[in-house]
Symmetry: C2
Subunit: 230 residues, 2 copies
């Protein structure tokens, strides 16, 4: 076991690994075989020291005075992320967002094969979504077991999300990508990563609001609301 990872990668660093991996893929396509932390930092729009520190959690895979071998580094990141294994996924919830995600090519493109789409609405069951026949949620467990699914994508209405999570967990799914903007409870050991689409917009709204505020400050107008209507 020559260089197994030093154990846990800090969350902040982990989040950047997929970006580095993608960038390495891009430069490979351009024929680049070696890259320095400065160059990778430029592409990633981050500090070079951060790149080196992040990569150091994987091991010492660079060469002093030279940089990193792109293919080798990419392999090490893949190995650490576990994406050189297959991770079939299921989507629970075949509404607008669920269908969208099923049709979204980006998952398959980066190695996540969709093996099931589930809903409880009889009018949805049997329809084709993303090349997959929508099945009743009761079939979830069967598919998760037989296909060895450990990651589920949650895109149900808010009201049924917790029940869907319970079923995913009971079926054996160990990680969930949650698009439903509610706080879900999961047993210890189950990872749940949340994407709140409207929440992201609200954060952007804050930044835009700040700009408006600072402008009205300069102009000496009050901050009381006038701009409520479009």
């Amino acid at each position: 076991m020559p260089n197994s990872p030093r154990r846990k990668i800090p969350e902040a660093a982990l989040i950047r690994l997929p970006m580095y991996l993608r960038l390495l893929g891009e430069v490979t396509a351009q024929g680049v075989t070696h890259i320095s932390s400065d160059q990778l930092a430029e592409l990633a729009a981050v500090n070079a020291a951060k790149v080196r520190k992040d990569l150091s959690y994987l091991g010492s895979y660079g060469v002093r005075g030279v940089g990193y071998e792109v293919a080798f580094l990419a392999y090490q990141i893949q190995r650490e992320l576990g994406v050189n294994h297959e991770w079939p996924i299921v989507i629970v919830g075949a509404g607008n967002l669920g269908q969208a995600l099923a049709n979204y090519g980006g998952f398959v493109e980066r190695g996540f094969g969709l093996v099931g789409v589930f809903d409880t609405d009889p009018s949805k069951i049997g329809t084709q979504v993303g090349g997959i026949c929508v099945q009743h949620l009761d079939e979830l467990s069967e598919v998760v077991q037989t296909r060895g699914v450990s990651i589920g994508v949650l895109a149900t209405p808010a009201a049924t999300a917790q029940e869907a999570v319970n079923r995913l967990v009971r079926a054996g799914v160990g990680s969930i990508l949650n698009f439903v903007p509610i706080v879900l409870s999961v047993p210890r050991g189950v990872h749940i990563s949340k994407v709140d689409l409207a929440g992201e917009l609200q954060i952007l709204s804050y930044y835009e609001q700040q700009k408006v505020n600072s402008l009205s400050h300069i102009q000496g107008t009050t901050t009381s609301s006038r701009a409520v209507s479009a």
Copy 2:
């Protein structure tokens, strides 16, 4: 100007405000009028001190010994986030993801009205997506100006994403929600928030991989790859 905010809210706290706001809405619907940091922390699944610290950046809106008045606190968060103003949005890219986002009810539900969907593909232009007629990207500037759009959602293919960003910025958009997994360059002052859907899965893949590794450790098997095929 009685209690204008103390200036910039730390990023880490800002990210949680939309969650608090949503939770306050939920408890309001249940008839709750007052809430303590302990209770809100329970709902949000975070530490109570964190809730108080986060809320303290907005001002002192709690009452010692009592807690926070839900409606008043919600209003203050809304005001701080700027979501009591209208923020019409546009979507650039009417492919799978763009259509999905256009049809996704969650944006409108939380106050973000969709006023334009843009693409350059002639076969897409003129089709109805999310109740909106897809327009050519050349029309972007016109719509942004007349509708006062300051937030754009980016869902183009990777190859055309930077050009689309340039157009958004030139048209006057100040913040961008980016679903395209590439690093984009924007001028100073333009905010760009990134959602890398496949990247999220890769992070989950890491956690699942960790579980596999720790299991094989216990069983004394090597970590060398065998589980590559499904």
